[in-house]
């Protein structure tokens, strides 16, 4: 069945040989490890770019398990997660979806921004998240039993403001929930410096800018600058771009399209650099 050219389409099981950089903020390492040990699915909540994905990568390395990451979008169907038959010449070939692949391999399956997926897809994960720990693959009439190492992790950003996008109670109450937020200033500066190689002093100034923009949340900005944006700005600076210009490109314009708000963020950037 598995022809060589089909491998290209198979979902990728990522394994981490080197330790991904992650700076713990609270007790998230211990909680996650305990949940993994007890085979409890985990829900990560937090604003965009605060380190959720990196955290999962770090935990995959730490627990020595492969990782399958699925970025959810509003056209993601259950077949996209579970798998489907494809035609190859005159034959049909079954291709496991990323969720099925993760279950078989005893991997961590990370569904990023799970609320973005279509409502019916969340139902597929229900039997995996209770004591049954099974994945029914309807098309093949197969019931895949999850090995002990399989762990389901989903993330979502509660800051979204749409009525139509919210995690249903029947789904959310299956998870251990961990709250994520931007780290405290000093830690955040250390993270930015470590990630980008820029001087600690400049990193501290980037963090200061982030703090100022977070004050503007709800006053024209939907979100303040995330740690990820600071890292982007830091990379630009490390590549020789002037700090002010780097921040304008990586922070101001990345945050918003609204002319007034861009100007306001720009004012704050220029107050620091």
């Amino acid at each position: 069945m598995n022809r060589p050219h089909m491998h290209a389409l198979a979902p990728e099981l990522e394994t981490f040989a080197a330790e991904p950089y992650y700076q713990p903020v609270g007790r998230e390492l211990e909680l996650f490890a305990a949940a993994a040990q007890k085979k409890l699915p985990v829900l990560l909540k937090g604003p965009t770019g605060c380190g959720k994905t990196r955290f999962v990568e770090y935990m995959a390395w730490k627990l020595g398990r492969p990782l399958v990451t699925v970025a959810c979008h509003d056209d993601l169907t259950s077949a996209d997660l579970v798998g489907r038959y494809l035609l190859a010449g005159e034959e049909t070939v079954w291709l496991d979806g990323p969720l099925t692949a993760a279950v078989r391999a005893g991997a961590i399956c990370y569904l990023d921004e799970v609320v973005e997926a279509r409502k019916d897809t969340t139902v597929v994960i229900h039997p995996l998240t209770d004591t049954r720990r099974v994945l029914p693959v309807e098309k093949r009439g197969e019931l895949v039993r999850a090995p002990d190492d399989f762990l389901l992790v989903v993330s979502y950003n509660p800051g979204y403001q749409s009525v139509l996008k919210e995690l249903k109670q029947s789904t959310r109450q299956r998870f251990i929930a961990l709250d994520f937020d931007y780290p405290p200033a000093e830690l955040e500066a250390a993270i930015v410096a470590r990630e980008t190689g820029i001087a600690g002093e400049i990193a501290a100034q980037l963090v200061k800018i982030a703090g100022l923009t977070r004050n503007l949340k709800g006053q024209g900005l939907d979100e303040g600058a995330s740690t990820r944006l600071l890292v982007h700005a830091g990379h630009l600076i490390a590549a020789g771009v002037a700090p002010r210009e780097a921040c304008q490109a990586a922070i101001g314009r990345a945050l918003t399209d609204d002319g007034d708000s861009v100007a306001s963020v720009d004012d704050l950037i220029r107050a620091v650099f």
Binding site: Y85, P158, V163, G220, A271, V272, F273
Partner: protein
């Protein structure tokens, strides 16, 4: 007509040209001779320049034109042609804004203009919204920006000169930013942390002392800001440029990182000779008005201390079930505005409004003195007996319905506590809505376009049993299934379909007395535009206003029912919305939740438009109680499947709104003029 030769105009020609502009009444006592004398020595080009501007100014006011011609030769010696134009424009703007006196003052102040002028004039009103956001970013607690002749701050409003003239508009904005930051720093870095009135002995030298102290503080705060916000250094140096030389020896000691207002006062005490006369005015440096600042600061401290005290008390109460006595410690980090609450050595998290209050207190006090957490003996606000205002007292038994209210201290409802009366706003102003529509015609068009786009795009439905197109994915799958021996699905087609949105929305409008003035106007205009835009959709929507006076009179005013058309009745009711009493938010939310549940829609939305926190007469609704009841009412709504959203015009909103409405379901507006657009945008964002 003047001769066409390039030579300068003679007295007679000048007289004729001036006559064409001024046509003086002989009896006015004015004569052309004064003007002719002024213009005669100028080269032809400058004469023409003067005559041109005289003509321009004469359209505004003859007096300005007269003075402009008279002063222009002097101005042209000091200013370039372009700058002179800016000088004249600034004077004309001064007239537009505040009358002849300002225009005359500006014209006469050629020197002042020359010092500041490098060509452009930037009016504060062009950048005030931007500066407001800048200050919001710096402080996190929001400062108003307003115009005043001199720059100063009362710690809640930053007053800035109405216009400044500099090289370019952008440079003007930078100048404003630096001035505003320096004023913000007064509150942030402790200028008012000591009682300046007590520190500066009353007497004849007091004003001079205050003026000197203002400059010393500017020096100290500029150094501090330069350290915190290095990007402002250049502009701050410009502001400090013409500081009197007597202050040179203060620069170093006041630039020390730990320097405080006490150091400025101490330096001043060591230089008593300065107090003999006030310093020459430094154009952009803020003045100090300690009495005003302290009054607001003290009120704010009292208020925030109360909020913090309630938050901490609540925190302790939640622990008390486990333990009897607790040791409470509060640690504040003034540099970073961080606060730690320790109870018996265990660190606890303050609720958001408590944290915001603590941060505000740290900004004002530099620390959180423990005595603040001890409840004051006297409550700051005492309920007064309300004189029985006939209607309210007697209608009690005839309420349209009784609603429960949540008492967070009891953790239980007070049953049938609120007496709700339903009214219909009466009004016959049929001209209001068409007038608003006409005034904002472009905006209404823009909104309509946006809503039209939202009406639901065509969407392709895949895997349909029939349809005009073949669904390739489904077909491939079906063939594969068949080959694999499974039964193929017959759903092999796609069909385009317009999405049904099925949404019912209720809008709740704050009609409390505090909306008097622009908020009420803005609310009404917002409603007009909203209705104009919503007419593009098929969504069912209702609009109700609310106000109240204690639990025994919660008034709800019907403006539009779900099944009512947006016709003249509704329009005249919108026009008739006016400020009434207080803001008891729980009952209207509960009522509209009930109404929304009666609507056959898949999504139900409750949007409230208000100007601030819940507040009512007499009882403690204005405290945590009101916030908790409102929160509870919204939780009930949410559990029932009604989503709520709050648009607020309260600058202090975010502290408690986050708690009250749950994360992300509110929006605070920074600019009133944007309100109508914003309401529509939020609606769009919510329902897309």
């Amino acid at each position: 007509m003047p001769s066409s030769d390039a030579g300068r105009l003679g007295g007679e020609e000048l007289g004729a040209r001036l006559d064409g502009i001024f046509s003086f009444d002989v009896s006015s006592g004015r004569s052309y001779q004064e003007l002719i004398d002024a213009l005669a020595p100028l080269p032809r080009e400058e004469q023409e320049f003067a005559l041109h501007w005289a003509q321009v100014a004469a359209r505004t006011h003859l007096e300005i034109a007269y003075l402009a011609v008279l002063l222009l030769p002097q101005a042209l010696r000091r200013l370039s042609r372009r700058q002179a134009e800016a000088w004249l424009v600034a004077a004309l703007e001064g007239f537009d804004r505040s009358g002849l006196r300002t225009a005359v003052v500006r014209l006469r102040d050629i020197e002042g203009f020359a010092r500041g002028a490098r060509g452009e004039v930037l009016a504060l009103q062009d950048v005030d919204a931007r500066l407001g956001r800048f200050l919001q970013g710096l402080s996190g607690r929001g400062l108003r920006v307003a115009a005043a002749e001199a720059a100063w701050t009362d710690t809640e409003t930053v007053f800035l000169p109405p216009a400044i003239a500099v090289a370019s508009r952008e440079a003007g904005a930078e100048r404003y930013k630096a001035i505003a930051a320096l004023l913000w720093a007064q509150a942030r870095y402790g200028t008012f942390n000591v009682d300046l009135d007590a520190a500066l002995a009353a007497g004849p030298g007091r004003d001079a002392a205050l003026a000197w102290l203002a400059l010393l503080e500017a020096l100290r705060l500029a150094a501090r800001l330069g350290h915190e916000l290095p990007g402002l250094r250049g502009e701050l140096a410009v502001l400090l440029h013409d500081l009197p030389p007597q202050l040179d020896s203060a620069r170093v000691p006041l630039a020390a990182p730990q320097a405080g207002v006490a150091d400025s006062l101490e330096w001043l005490r060591q230089h008593p000779e300065l107090l003999a006369s006030p310093p020459h005015a430094c154009a952009w440096l803020g003045a100090l008005r300690p009495d005003e600042a302290r009054r607001l600061r003290d009120a704010r401290i009292r208020q925030q201390a109360e909020v913090l005290r309630l938050s901490v008390a609540e925190l302790l109460e939640s622990l008390r079930e486990e333990k009897a006595a607790s040791q409470l410690d509060l640690e504040a980090d003034a540099e970073r505005l961080e606060v730690k609450v320790m109870v018996d050595g265990q660190e606890l998290t303050l609720p958001p409004e408590g944290l915001a209050a603590a941060q505000s207190l740290i900004q004002d006090l530099g620390e959180i003195p423990p005595e603040l957490l001890v409840a004051a003996g006297e409550a700051p606000w005492k309920p007064a007996d309300k004189p029985g205002s006939g209607a309210g007292a007697t209608m009690e038994t005839r309420a349209d319905l009784l609603l429960d209210e949540w008492d967070y201290r009891r953790r239980a409802y007070r049953r049938g506590w609120c007496h709700v009366y339903l009214h219909t706003v009466g009004g016959d102003d049929l001209a209001y809505v068409p007038a608003v529509r006409a005034r904002h015609a472009p905006l209404v068009r823009q909104l309509r376009r946006r809503f039209e786009a939202m009406r639901g795009e065509d969407r392709t439905l895949r895997r349909q049993a029939d349809g005009p197109e073949v669904d390739m994915d489904a077909l491939v799958e079906a063939i594969a299934d068949r080959r694999g021996g499974a039964e193929p699905s017959p759903r092999l087609f796609c069909r385009r379909q317009r999405d049904e949105r099925s949404l019912a929305a209720a809008f709740l409008v704050d009609m409390s007395g505090s909306t008097e003035g622009w908020i009420n106007d803005a609310e009404r205009e917002a409603l007009v535009m909203l209705c104009e835009a919503l007419e593009m959709l098929d969504d069912r929507y209702a609009i109700w206003g609310f106000s109240g006076w204690t639990r025994t009179r919660c008034d709800l005013y019907r403006i539009k029912e779900f099944d009512e058309d947006y016709g003249v009745d509704v329009q005249s009711r919108i026009a008739a919305i006016k400020p009434r009493d207080y803001t008891r938010m729980g009952p209207p939310i509960r009522y509209l939740t009930r109404r929304l549940l009666g609507e056959p829609a898949r999504h139900r939305l409750l949007v409230s438009l208000s100007d601030g926190r819940p507040d009512d007469f007499g009882d403690d609704y204005r405290s945590q109680y009101g916030i908790e009841d409102t929160r509870q009412a919204l939780l009930e709504a949410r559990q029932a499947g009604v989503r709520s959203y709050c648009v607020t015009l309260d600058r202090n909103g975010p502290d408690y709104l986050k708690h009250m409405y749950g994360p992300a379901a509110y929006s605070v507006l920074d600019d009133v003029r944007k309100l109508p657009l914003k309401v529509a945008e939020i609606y769009r964002k919510l329902t897309i």
